[in-house]
Amino acid sequence: MQLNANIPGGPLAQKWDRHRFELKLVNPANKRKFNIIVVGTGLAGGSAAASLAELGYNVKSFCIQDTPRRAHSIAAQGGINAAKNYQNEGDSIWRLFYDTVKGGDFRAREANVYRLAQISNEIIDQCVAQGVPFARDYGGLLANRSFGGAQVSRTFYARGQTGQQLLLGAYSALMRQVAQGRVTMFPRREMLDIVVIDGQARGIIVRNLITGETERHAADAVVMCTGGYGNVFFLSTNAMASNVTAAYRAHKKGALFANPCFTQIHPTCIPVHGTYQSKLTLMSESLRNDGRVWVPLKPGDDRRPGDIPEDERDYYLENKYPSFGNLVPRDVASRNSKEQCDKSKGVGETHLAVYLDFKDAIQRDGRDVIEKKYGNLFQMYEKITAENPYETPMMIYPAVHYTMGGLWVDYNLMSSVPGLFVLGEANFSDHGANRLGASALMQGLADGYFVIPYTIGGYLAGTPLKPVNTDHYEFKDADTAVNEMTRKLLDINGSRTVDDFHRELGMIMWDYCGMARNNDGLAKARGMIQKLREKFWRDVTIPGQGVDFNQSLERAGRVADFLEFAELMILDALERQESCGGHFNEGFQTDENEALRDDDNFCHVSAWEHRGAGEEPVMHKEPLVFENVKLTQRSYK
């Protein structure tokens, strides 16, 4: 299979303009003749469904929650980047582009990232027009703050609830289209398969989570915005319903999966505190603007933080990276926390935590300033841990947060299955091997508001599409297969719960495919996963029935897919014999323990093809060509 990213020619800065000009257009009167399915209602899905409906397409929008306003984009705290240069610090589209490519450790496509930086400014305009209450200065102008991996303040924010506010903006636009009859909303539906007819994506099979019945939906194109797969680790900052099922089942139907081993471990999360724990809570990276990260200088120092004098503290990020200090990119910060804990300098009950201290910031700016900036985050921390971060330093530890890998897409955001578009975290395209803070929101909205409306038009106008309906045998087969799987799961009647298996899988992934990996561990993990999968299909127990509201069954299907997908992650990690960004193979590091890339052999996207059950997947390479930036060893010193 030859992968064609369809990157337009011409100078980098003109590619997107040129491409938009070259894309075929659908006549406004003809748009209403096209049906488009959008799966997911996060920033990417919500904005895509609303924008496509505004253009006149017939849109069906699906979400797994009870209302489209709850997608997990809502939990993004810190902010959204844009190259507005409102602060007069020398920011520009080029700088945002460069920071993002560099932050991603040079494993993203230049053209996609440049387009993202170009669009970033329009997103802010759009969101303000929709009524997103971004923070403002006293004069009424928009405020900015700085984020990891950048030396300019380009992050727009709405307290610690930026994701929520942006999502509510997209949601309100979507609701407006629902009211106008342009979008039909299908909440509490889980996509369980795509339907491919004559090589084109022509519909989906969903399970109605209330009745338990499957439904078939046909369309001219399918847009998947189903988020990331971080929950393969069981414990992550993702929402409980976040899963890989939609993406993985599309993968099984022919969509290539790119760079699955690129996962982001976020440095500032509340540490794990018990086996019953169901999820991890992120504390916004923005905290690193004012908080100082430290551990005791002496290993095994169990004194209370207040009792450790200044000269016995190791502000290891500031010492090691004088120019970026506490604001190094996420992968670097996370790895350094792990390194300190590995040296027995970890703090707290489990010794798997480091301090994030606001004492100096409170002394410098006053408590009320800090409270205004981070009040809700501090409150959240106190609620969970019962400790007051104004008085004792916060304890933080890295946790799985975001997945840069995803379904492979070309410049048009179309997967290797024609007619199947993939947006937001579900695709792989813009963040390379590591995502910078405040860039996920930017990408989701860029894809949904400003990319898909044009590129999908190009596809629909330029592709012959035969009329299909849901009686087609491909629909019947897919539907039958989905119900067959449900029946199989319910029939197992074993002795272990779904969560029990999920937790075990998560431990394997965290230990062997987490912040640091090595070849032996990965090989071992692969065997463990295969065994666990086999056990799952023999010994899981799922109460209740298929045609009912059955949350155990929902989770079982997702875990079944995670158990297969985890192996693909391991394979990908094993194949990539280098370290880059979030993928840190201990065998490949610089003298200073930084990720050591191998640009000669691994400057490519690894896109995996599913070859059927029991078959080894096949890897296809999309070479990454850098014409505009020079590949360097990332340094944040």
């Binding site: 939990a75 303000v128 027009a129 209450p133 949601y171 109460p543 509201f549």
Partner: protein, 254 residues
């Protein structure tokens, strides 16, 4: 330090919207006080599953207090006894050993029960569809800094916009009114200059829809703001009333 407690739970079980529900008793032993309320229910469900019984259906998603999907009435209070807290952020350290805890779904005529503690909150979406938006189609917007918005105003708008749509205000209101929810959206949008052009139509349509969906009427009992996990103030209800009066008397909006 972690400590464990034993609890008796009285949980509402109902197999479907039409069927009759009842409170059933469950014993939850050695519950760590560091658990969240939902994690406690997870533990109960794991045991029920292993005992071959049907687990308790309850809604949840983000488990960090922002998505608005979780929520039950715990001992008579939506999202439990802590103020400004969603159920997923309510920790068991707020309960004592030997406590009996009643867990019921959010109750209102407008919210049908789907199963056990899971309810249908789609009426809240319908209210938003009636006008809870600014009609700014994608593209063609002016520069974000073109209109200055005083910081104080932006902050007030943000206070209102913080609503997570969980429905606790409806559950808490003695009259099952959705006034706090509606007013939060009306306030958020009307405070911003971008939202002013549609202000009159918005408030009239949203309120009309709220009435049609059989929510109750506001009688200023203030239970909504007391229970709101985002501590949204009833000052927003006053603002909405003001907007309604303005729209009714001074505009030509129907």
């Amino acid at each position: 330090m972690t400590k464990t407690i034993n609890l008796t739970l009285k949980i509402w079980r109902q197999s479907g919207p039409g069927s009759k529900g009842r409170l059933e008793t469950y014993i939850a032993n050695t519950i760590s006080t560091d658990m969240s309320f939902l994690e406690m229910l997870d533990v109960v469900n794991e045991q029920l599953t292993l005992d071959g019984k049907e687990p308790i259906a309850f809604d949840y998603d983000c488990r960090e207090g922002i998505c608005g999907q979780c929520g039950c009435v715990v001992n008579g209070r939506p999202h439990g006894p802590e103020n400004g807290t969603t159920l997923c952020q309510l920790h068991m350290r707020h309960f004592s050993d030997g406590d009996t805890i009643f867990v019921e779904p959010f109750r209102a005529r407008a919210f049908k029960i789907v199963k056990d503690l899971v309810i249908d909150r789609s009426p809240l979406d319908k209210i938003i569809q009636a006008g809870g938006y600014i009609s700014a189609s994608t593209g063609g917007c002016q520069d974000a800094n073109a209109i200055l918005i005083p910081q104080d105003t932006a902050e007030k708008a943000m206070d209102a916009a913080a609503c997570i749509g969980c429905g606790a205000c409806v559950a808490a209101c003695p009259n099952a009114s959705a006034m706090l929810f509606v007013s939060a959206k009306v306030s958020h949008l009307v405070l911003l200059p971008q939202g002013r052009p549609e202000a009159a139509q918005r408030v009239v349509s949203m309120l009309k829809t709220m009435d049609e969906l059989c929510f109750g009427n506001c009688s200023n009992e203030r239970e909504c703001e007391a229970e709101c996990p985002k501590e949204i103030s009833i000052i927003n209800i006053a603002r909405m009333n003001r907007e309604y009066i303005k729209a009714g008397i001074a505009s030509t909006v129907q």
